[in-house]
Point group: C2
Amino acid sequence: MQNYSHTIPTKIYFGKGQISRLAEALRPFGAKVLLTYGGGSIKKTGLYDTVMDILSDEGFTVFECGGIEPNPRIESVERGVKLCRENGIEVILAVGGGSTIDCSKAIAAGVYYEGDLWEMASTRHGVLKALPLVDILTLSATGSEYDGGGVISNMKINQKLGNSYTFPAVSICDPTYTFTVSKYQTAAGTADIMSHIFEEYFSRTPDSDLADGICETVLKSAIKNLPIALAEPDNYSARANLMSISSIACSGIPSYGKQSSGWPCHAMEHELSAFYDITHGVGLAILTPRWMRHILKKDPSCEWRFVRFAENVWGMEGEDEHALANAAIDRLEEFFRESGIPMTLSELGIGEEHFAEMASHANRGGYLKNSFVALTDEDIVEIYRACL
Amino acid sequence: MQNYSHTIPTKIYFGKGQISRLAEALRPFGAKVLLTYGGGSIKKTGLYDTVMDILSDEGFTVFECGGIEPNPRIESVERGVKLCRENGIEVILAVGGGSTIDCSKAIAAGVYYEGDLWEMASTRHGVLKALPLVDILTLSATGSEYDGGGVISNMKINQKLGNSYTFPAVSICDPTYTFTVSKYQTAAGTADIMSHIFEEYFSRTPDSDLADGICETVLKSAIKNLPIALAEPDNYSARANLMSISSIACSGIPSYGKQSSGWPCHAMEHELSAFYDITHGVGLAILTPRWMRHILKKDPSCEWRFVRFAENVWGMEGEDEHALANAAIDRLEEFFRESGIPMTLSELGIGEEHFAEMASHANRGGYLKNSFVALTDEDIVEIYRACL
């Protein structure tokens, strides 16, 4: 067990109808609200009207910042910050998935940031001074509703960077808002949840019982509930379990006492999204089994962890540990494919022309040498190639 | 999945040497510190001197409130509140186990409470306005380091009541401080951790994957690590796992989405402690298997939950579900006995003379009719009798 520090100041209201808490969640912070959202799906589902009715009935003044992109851009952060500064915004209300919430976190911090906002997004720092943020979650995926981080893209220079900004004060997590999420986004979101766990689970620390048990619980719940949610999009139990595990997966609790892995799949995926603007969870699903096979081959001393994954997550049994480890990886790839995720980069129209540059970015001067199994730029290129 | 609301504002610093964070944890709140502790074991272990040296070196002014009882009394709360008010205390530093931290929470809230402090302790209310509280944990048991509750006793009227007071701002959790905890208290503390889980795990809600998985993880970790800690008191990994699960067990996360069970074993145990001042965890260990047998017999429709307990926690297998359920309960009782806990009330010198009165208190006018399996006063008396 390694040392750890942990806090999550966010209050979660989870379940059907929790939007009834919205006014009380916002009111302590003020009456001037910036409402942020994405491409407009909340208008189609009626959630936008519901929110606007509540805000109007309860006497809030609302300014809007819609159109936030799936991989949110620095330009959206700049636009939001300008709106906040010009209108004396007191609290941000993000309605959407991880992209909208991530962008809103950067806006919340950006309001107080003196200097260029891409500089803020691309400099490592702790949680910043920020406007209070309340969110209504509409996608089970990133866990942004229960952590302090956000990921912002600068497509002009093909960079997508995660950073700490601020924790939401309140997250309203109503699984019924995910009934209308497409099969594709449901599968991609679940792959994202699972990847957050893989990034922590695949660690050298053998004795962090709580963290490992939570990791296995989240993975088993994802494996159980994704097929149900795909077959029955309005199955409340399946949607509720996916939403509940999405928050915990990114909470830091699954890493309690564990040596940090450096989050290699996220580092590699951010390059795919930065160069090709693909869906984050799809990139992660494609990369993960290839990364697993690569590191298992490169360093067989990590095999015990894959055996544990096989036994405790997939319920596999067998004497041959090497076969077990590989079978677990194959099963994971098959699971993603069965969920409708395109499992090669070629299917997304991505070739190898930028792999060397992407690998160098992902590795940030040797950053991934400290991951579960050390990765060089060459390793990363090989992993990208295995995804073609 | 039921709805839930959740927040834990406490910051945890977990691991060896985290006392280095003490001054930074206290400083934002002020320089006048009330140091609270129990019967003086922290003087024997040297922790008292370490803390006093840090506080002195860092320029804090310290007032002391030692001698807090294992089942902390309302008189200690009154004494602490008086010290705070007379000396303008700005922050409380609790060094000890759950009793010291519970009492300190009541002191922290009591400072602002206008009126009789037993009235505060015996009235159901939410988290109260309170002085900030920092703690250094020395016993893995109650989870008081990571929740807002406290339990205070009034021995004049044989009442022991739990209530919400305040969350610690910071909890410093260093497993090495538990190396000197006796075998008896180590076992009792682990029984308390396990009971916090049983109170949530035995619920009618079948589909709360995350909560059930965390419950099973905590139970398995307790079962694995208690025998190691008893055999090797300074085994860091075992002590660290017990400390880590103690915090999560009481965090509210193991109840995510589950129908509340009413915490029947705690209600019944508080009467044992209120009448006989016994160690809380010992009372829980004695009661739990008898409560389990009683409810399984009373309402066989809850058997599925015991079968799950048998399979997922004890790794038992078998076709006969009834036999499996009972075997899991027997195994639990055996586990507690093997850990050195006296497993009958007779061994503690307790007879049945107060059972009817205790049952009526525990049930608070029918409170336990909503527990996992409804309990009447008569049921509770039968459970107490089975413990003789």
